[in-house]
Amino acid sequence: MNAEFRARPVLLPALLLAMPILVLLIFVILPAFTFYSKASTESGLQKNLQLENSFYLTQLEKVKADSIGMTVNLRDSMVILDVKGVTLRQCRIEEYALQYRHLTNTDSLAADLSKPFILQYGWGSTAKIPIMVKNAPKDTAEANQELYQPVRPPKKDIFVYLQFDKDFLLYLKQNEPVGLKGWLNRRKVHFRQYAAEWQRAFSQLITGRRIQPGNKLEITLSQDDALAVYRALPKHGQMALYLP
């Protein structure tokens, strides 16, 4: 009982003395350490490694499939068509514009990019499979009359939207300038996209969710490359994205 009474006068001054020290610790020293370690861990090298890690994880996931996939490598400005790790075609990206939600948060971004994007549907200014219908001739005479002169189909302007999962939209457009017909075709393709965006915003509104734009990547390729990518990618085709 006496010891307790004697301790009190020591405890109170000690607490009073400790208060500034605690304040110093809580408000100055610890934040300084935290700031430093946070700043260090979010270095560019770390971010690059995380993204590279995600990229190869995605590529290894992609090689499990037998169908043609796509790699969009913004670091090297390339779009690559590949199957099982074999490069089928390399297309040079002339220009690109990216809008992505998690760009500032490396961890979320790396998690997002560590699995392939799966193609849901797509539409474009030209048919994915350009089927021409031919009715069978009645007899050999009619067959002989049909003088078939094979020609390469004329080139068409290519503007393509590919909607992937994870709310990711890829817009492929040709680098070559277009005429009036091409311009109208492009407007038509865009119009469908606008309609889809409005529909999306409306559904977000009525379900009480926050209206936010989706992830979008716009890529400019040569006409041949854009067509090859559009036609080669099958339904549910996979895509890896490598960000700079």
Binding site: V28, Q59, V83, L88, I131, V133, D139
Partner: protein
């Protein structure tokens, strides 16, 4: 009085022990005020005080942090390297062929090295509609295939559409009129489902989409492909 005395007796020792005397109490109040003041000043100037501390910490702390960070980065780097190696191992070591149906061209590859490239013919994308409403779409399938068999001097077993396309009556399955020699060139490499890499009589159409789904090659290219690809070799069509 006795009650008061009793209370005093009870409280006196507590006061004497727990509470300091008048002078020490003043000192305690001053110390508390001083401590509070210092604390408040520290809180107010905390952001400014942190800056030199961060700078001061850097040489020593940087070494510690960067060591930890280096270790984490090295681990991640090793992981990336492992994944990269695993991915690069996917490329076939054996020869393989890539066919581009958009440009009607092909490339024979070994790993990432190009061995030969040239023109070919692929599916015409024509849909043939018979009088009985049967339909055939003449397109070359896309994706990954492998060579199932190799033939020299192949004989073509003409399917129904070959007769319908020419306005001829369709013969029974094993009719002799279904077998045609020489039209597939000297070699054929079978891919399955009726699709083949073979030669052609119509060399002038090479580079154009004219076939019924097979891949036609020129005579020299066909010989090269035949000799450089084995059964099991991969065929990639896009």
């Amino acid at each position: 009085m006795s009650e008061i005395q009793e209370t005093a007796d009870i409280t006196a020792p507590e006061e004497g022990a727990a509470s300091p005397s008048g002078g020490s109490r003043t000192a305690l109040v001053v110390a508390a005020a001083f401590s509070l003041l210092v604390s408040l000043i520290l809180i107010y100037y905390a952001p400014d005080l942190r800056k030199p501390l961060v700078v001061m910490l850097k040489p020593g702390q940087q070494a510690d942090s960067s060591q930890i960070l280096d270790k984490a980065q090295q681990k991640l780097q090793r992981q990336v390297q492992t994944l990269k190696t695993r991915f690069e191992r996917q490329t076939p070591k054996a020869n393989y062929i890539i066919v581009n149906t958009n440009a009607d061209s092909f490339a024979v590859m070994q790993g990432t090295t190009l061995l030969k490239k040239g023109v070919c013919s692929t599916g015409s994308y024509i849909m043939l509609v018979a009088h009985d409403q049967r339909k055939w779409v003449f397109k070359t399938p896309r994706g990954m295939f492998s060579i199932k068999g190799k033939l020299t001097n192949p004989v073509w077993h003409k399917p129904d559409w070959a007769f319908i396309e020419e306005g001829l009556p369709v013969p029974p399955q094993h009719s002799n009129s279904r077998f045609e020699r020489g039209v597939l060139g000297d070699y054929a490499l079978y891919l399955g489902d009726g699709y083949m890499l073979h030669g052609t009589l119509y060399q002038r159409f090479l580079g154009l989409p004219v076939t019924h789904g097979c891949i036609r090659l020129g005579d020299d290219d066909l010989e090269y492909v035949y000799t450089h690809l084995d059964v099991g070799s991969k065929v990639f069509i896009y």
